[in-house]
Amino acid sequence: MSWIVPLDIGLLMGLLLAWAVLALALGFRLLDFPDLTVEGSFPLGAAVFAVLHRTGVPMLLSIPCAMLAGGLAGALTGFLHVRFRLNKFLSGIIVIAIAYSLSLRIMGGSNIGLLGLSSVFDCVERLEESLPGGVHLWTALLLVGFLLVGSTLILGALATRTGLRLRVAGSNPNYARALGINVPANLVLGLAATNCLAALSGVLLAMHQGFADVGMGQGVLILALAAMTIGERLLPEKRLPFHAFVLVAAVVGSVAYQVVVAYAVRVGLAPTDLKLATAVMVLAVVALRVSRDGNLLSEVQQ
């Protein structure tokens, strides 16, 4: 059974972090905004959730509040960019710094324990006790369920007129303006929405590991970028509508990346080498796709 443990861990982490990968991918691909805020809204969501839930606010109310906090962080990034014409990266970096201090202030320390408090995983805990080897099959199924519901809602929203206008604003701002679409407003709205997802990812991870930590966002950006790149290279783009492709690729990439990392650690990769291994993995996947398609020029253009 030892071979299945990395798969279990990787699958679980991939599904937990898929929302953060989704946040980055939707911002990057649909809004044309490489949004670094994800690294700040992820722990901010966890911090807001942990504090509210510990003070007695019901879990089902704490989660949307945490998502709202993440959404406000995303909206602030968009606002800084459109109002003060700050560089997209710089806007995100400024908000990461704000979110870090804010998370510390909200939690009153660097972390808060959530053990003994209710969680969305409570319903599957008992079912998993009967499984051999401590496999988290039911937790994974629950997370897949969340992702299916969430993805359906996101795809539905992107197909509405508001969603279409948002996608036009991201795809071609000049064309969007010619159609009378308010590009800055749509950008702020879009970044708010994507960072709600990043905050949700932080909430789910905090619930699963039993604590929220101010440093839990560190590295999320790198892993989300790696997962997005891997997912987009693994899936055939032409089979799906573009926004559906971005969404599915983010989830598949998140799981694939985490499973590979779990197996790499299992076979003896030192945790200190993890980021180097991530970079090599991303380059390998891109290179494989390019050599398979034989279309280096199109990759470079992209």
Binding site: R29, L30, R161, L164, R165, R167, V168, G170, S171, N172, N174, Y175, A176, R177, A178, L179, G180, N182, P241, F242, H243
Partner: protein, 247 residues
Amino acid sequence: MTKSDSILTVSNVTVTFSRWGQAVRAVRDLTLSLPRGQWVMLVGHNGSGKSTLLRAISGAIRPETGDIVLTGRSLTDMSASEIARSVFLVHQDPLMGTASTLTLFENLLVADHAAATANCSHKELLGKYVELLRPLGLADRLKQLAKTLSGGERQLLALLIGRLRPSPLMLLDEPLAALDPAKSELCIEQIRSMHAAGKTVVQVTHEPHLALRAGDRTVVLANGEIVYDAIGDDRSSEALRRFWGGV
């Protein structure tokens, strides 16, 4: 022509912009009036101010002096969405006029003002767009992304999008540039349909035969000023040669 007849009145407009730190006066004290339903061919050498004039009329750039009145209202008093409902600019670059990551259906839907107000069903819209795309040979590509189209096909799509807009004034900045003869003919057909539907058209061209024979009126720009303006049969190749040299 009374003011109420004209859809566009450009009064003493000067447009200056900065290029590499140097002020460039692209349009100089220009005055022009367009009656509803007219099809104007706008010609002139590169750098004569044609594109800048179109961008100023579309609200993309603000004139330094003068006033632009569109459908009876000054541009400065109109919101961005009001301007977008009054005028639509098709760029020379086909990539500028469509959203590459949206399908053809979605590109048409987001621009289709009538569909938004009439609350049409998906099936009705599908039928409508298939009929619109059929003459362009794109009917079977409705579900493909715009980025899969060639440059010429994207320009045809951009013109079709213009037909779906509620704006009575269409500005076409060299829509036929870099198109093969077959695509050019299809584009001209699209513009004729637009014009026949009652839209006022201002089309920039470098094609001498179009400048002289297409449309109702020909205006020649040089150094940001109108140097020739003739309507219908008054247009002569000799005059055009003198002011433009293109014939």
